[in-house]
Symmetry: C2
Subunit: 330 residues, 2 copies
């Protein structure tokens, strides 16, 4: 197993300790008994945005804790849901006093544990469930569609509203709107290796790709021979646009996301191919994001996310943000 | 070859086009007859900072063109030097009127071509040569030590001085100081694949790593069995510290850099291991940088860079910067 690692058991703790130390101006990390990443910007009176999920998708979610995005993140072990206890501890740590909005990707384990935490806690809470992956209905760990990279778009836009004093219900409604306006789909050229497993999650031949792959290596629509970047981009885009059905006047955010093992130069090449296809369809790219944001450890692959924008969403996208993984305006 | 690519010939152009479109608020890209990335922030009266080198190390250097860093970058083909014509065209495009500082990594091809450009141009120019890689003296494409990730630290700090009105000689002297204060060393778990070659640059067995690897896959100090993250970090740090000889009172910048195919969670784990070792040696980490900044396409691997800091360097490190690859304060 070719990894920078000392032991599979300590992998997450050591990585989090490094993260916490490198970004101590933004976050405080807790390790005992629960792993929690808390924003130093969390403040009384705002709606607290809390999320979590299995680790292995970094910078998601810990990298988006900070000003203008999340108040806390609960990292589970690699590809494993965080526990309800962990979530309750996170709620106590942020304690903003205006309710808690959980942002949860649509995986059965995550949903169950966040639901238990919501029942165990005393204050008010709401949940935004993301399910932007248009590849397949139902999957290995999911009933319905999987929640993937659009979760980050939800976190940025709702984070902005919460920072500016939006109420719990307003934040929930905006989160649902962003999720409804978003579609994603990805492709993998290689599997990742979960440290505790020590071997690839799945095997692909040297000329094969998994089309519509999940961020834990779940099967997608099909296995296929490697295609050109244009053919891959075209198929990903068409699947997303078929689902979102943007109209001519719609502005969109185009987000090309790397899975962890793909050079950023290839992500920009995908962006270029997508941009030309969208131009032909008279769909206007109003905002862009390119990079490794929602990853699957060292998986070689990429995904495209499109979010239909209106002025409200653009305004919240543009507000200042200061996290380890996304920063502008401050 | 598992890449997002349409043809090896068009790889760089399509990638640059995507980069230029995604970051049109920061840069203007030119394609004909020369590839040039020019900052929209370049302004009359300042010293122009121009760099270049083979592509494949993204975000270096194009990702550091913008406010507070570079005025222009000349991307050569993957792992190939840019041409003197390309550099002359870049000089004409920025034309700031207070001289040009070339920041050049120590590779024979880059040096020769930048030297030719300096002779061909009419205005004054100076050059800062980076050679921070402590792994080996002389290498496949280098006489002396290789220039690697510390080049980015030079670009940020000298970029700040140039932005605030520093003269050509002041910028040159500061660049030389940062380079002298910096040391780097890296390790590879896998080779990258240059698109035009279509196959790995070198081969490593499933349990092997290249210790002291260059950013084009050049051999390092030795091939060895994969070690624990602690052992690798310890050896990299000791090699750098032996070279830099920081004193107890020195503050440092600790920069853990990914080669392109390593998950960021592993980079934070290396950071954590390095942090503890530096604590033990009473060396204070005053600033940190963790991420994929100076890459080798999809190579699995990482490098550590240490820069000894003083108040002047810290002040310039902290000033606002707005580039695709590094952004804060604006």
């Amino acid at each position: 197993m070719k990894k920078f690692i000392n032991s599979a058991d300590d992998f997450l703790k050591e990585s989090l300790q490094g993260f916490g130390a490198a970004h101590k101006d933004i976050v405080t990390c807790y390790y005992n008994p629960n792993f929690i990443i808390r924003s130093k910007y969390a403040k009384k009176g705002k709606v607290a945005l809390i999320t979590g999920g299995g680790s292995g998708h970094e910078p998601m979610h810990g990298g988006f804790v900070g000003y203008g995005m999340l108040d806390a993140a609960c990292p589970g072990f690699v590809f494993s849901s965080p526990s309800p206890d962990q979530m309750i501890a996170a709620i106590e740590k942020v304690d903003c006093g205006s309710g808690v909005l959980f942002i949860v990707k649509n995986y059965s384990g995550d949903i169950m544990n966040f639901q238990m935490a919501a029942e165990m806690m005393t204050g008010p809470s709401e949940t935004v469930l993301t399910n932007d992956d248009v590849a397949v209905e139902n999957s290995s760990f999911t009933t319905g569609r999987r929640g993937v990279a659009a979760t980050i778009i939800v976190e940025k836009i709702v984070g902005s509203l919460a920072e500016s004093g939006g109420s719990l219900v307003e934040c929930k409604n905006l989160g649902n709107k962003v999720n409804k306006n978003s579609g994603s789909m990805g492709v993998a050229f290689s599997s990742c290796i979960v440290p505790a497993a020590g071997k690839p999650t799945f095997e692909l031949r040297s000329d094969e790709m998994e089309f519509g792959v999940g961020i834990h290596g779940e099967p997608g629509r099909r296995r296929d021979k490697i295609k050109s970047a244009k053919e891959i981009t075209n198929e990903l885009l068409n699947a997303i646009l078929e689902d979102l059905k943007p109209e001519n006047k719609d502005d969109i955010l185009l987000f090309v996301n790397g899975m962890g093992g793909t050079p950023i130069s290839e992500l920009y090449l995908i962006y270029d191919n997508a941009r030309k296809m969208l131009d032909n369809k008279k769909i206007k790219i109003a905002r862009s994001l390119v990079g490794n944001y929602c990853t699957s450890l060292e998986m070689q692959g990429a995904s495209i996310t499109i979010t239909k924008l209106d002025q409200e969403l653009v305004n919240h996208w543009d507000t200042p943000v200061h996290t380890a993984g996304m920063r502008w305006g401050m």
